[in-house]
């Protein structure tokens, strides 16, 4: 029983640490990409949402590797972040789209549409 209680305490401690890391990561992402970490943004099945929910940790095996996990999450965040802007372009829900008139290569008038986090 004592060993089980210690194991449960260890799992709880790892969950707290993971939650804190995720909160820190969320704050960083908000500052850099203005992408919000919620289901509306990432969808129900995205890997980042799974990370936010703690589902990539194997608390049963105790083989959780914080360094490896963080690197993997960063990569996923990066990819999901780019994809998310693309999703905003497609559904028109993004508020940072603007269009400029251009002269096309064939000398006809055209437009170029830009999407992104805004004009800096």
């Amino acid at each position: 029983m004592e060993e089980m209680r210690k194991a449960e305490q260890a799992r709880e401690e790892r969950r707290k640490q993971a939650t804190q890391r995720k909160a820190d990561e969320k704050s960083r992402l908000n500052g850099v990409t203005a992408v919000f970490l919620d289901t509306e943004t990432y969808g129900e099945s995205s890997q980042l949402l799974e990370a936010q929910e703690g589902n990539i940790y194997d608390v049963e095996t105790g083989e959780y590797d914080p360094t490896f996990n963080k690197e993997g999450t960063d990569e996923t965040i990066s990819n999901d972040g780019i994809d998310q802007f693309g999703a905003n372009e497609d559904d028109g829900s993004g508020g940072n789209t603007f269009t400029l008139d251009i002269v096309k290569d064939d000398n006809t008038a055209g437009t170029a549409t830009f999407n992104g986090g805004g004009v800096n």
């Binding site: 251009i102 002269v103 000398n107 008038a109």
Partner: protein, 206 residues
């Protein structure tokens, strides 16, 4: 490589000007020779500057006891921004019982990813009674002319111009000046006949 639009108007020192109330040296910036775009209409400025000198009558010179003719001069400048959806032409007329001279000018700016050609056809006429004479310069020249094409009482012809590619607005101007005059025959009686000019500039996108 696409070119971002400048304008909608520009002058020699600023490529991004709003539409002016009076054109002055400001011209609309077009997308090359594309007159089909509703979003970016092809515009030009038509400028007609008319000078007239009119015989109004006579007055007595008390010192000599002679009568001398009196004249009145007037100058009008009319600048209009116009839109072209295809080949187009502009024209002007001038008239006076003594001297008339009209500058007929079209000007525009453009950006182009590659060069394109336009053909300018011009026809200027001066006419009046049997005393018709040339009071001043009459001829055609444009931005690429090395020397004007002159003639009296008529000047006509056409030139084909290659307008080079340009990222920034580049200007093109064509000018046709017509002038006509008739002699006064009675110092104190202005003539009933008049001196006239007509001018037409046509632009064809090749």
């Amino acid at each position: 490589m696409a070119i971002l639009r400048a304008g909608p108007f520009a002058n020699s020192s600023d490529s991004f000007l709003d539409e002016p109330k009076i054109a002055g040296d400001i011209a609309p910036v077009n997308c090359a020779n594309d007159t089909s775009s509703l979003a970016w209409p092809w515009k030009y400025v038509k400028i007609v500057s008319e000078f007239n000198n009119t015989h109004t009558g006579c007055e007595l010179d008390p010192a000599s006891g002679d009568y001398f003719p009196t004249f009145a001069s007037s100058q009008s400048d009319n600048n209009i921004n116009k839109t072209a959806t295809e080949d187009f032409s502009i024209s002007s007329f001038g008239s006076s019982n003594h001297i008339t001279s009209v500058d007929t000018i079209l000007t525009f700016a453009y950006q182009a990813a590659k060069s394109f050609e336009i053909k300018i056809t011009f026809e200027g006429l001066a006419f009046g009674d049997s005393t018709l004479y040339q009071p001043s310069f009459m001829g055609f020249f444009d931005s690429q002319s090395e020397e004007p094409i002159v003639g009296f009482p008529s000047v006509s012809g056409s030139v084909t111009r290659t307008l080079p590619a340009s990222i920034v607005p580049i200007f093109y101007t064509a000018t046709l000046i017509t002038a006509s005059s008739i002699d006064i025959e009675d110092v104190c009686s202005p003539k009933g006949s008049i001196a006239n000019t007509s001018a037409t500039l046509s632009v064809e996108f090749l």
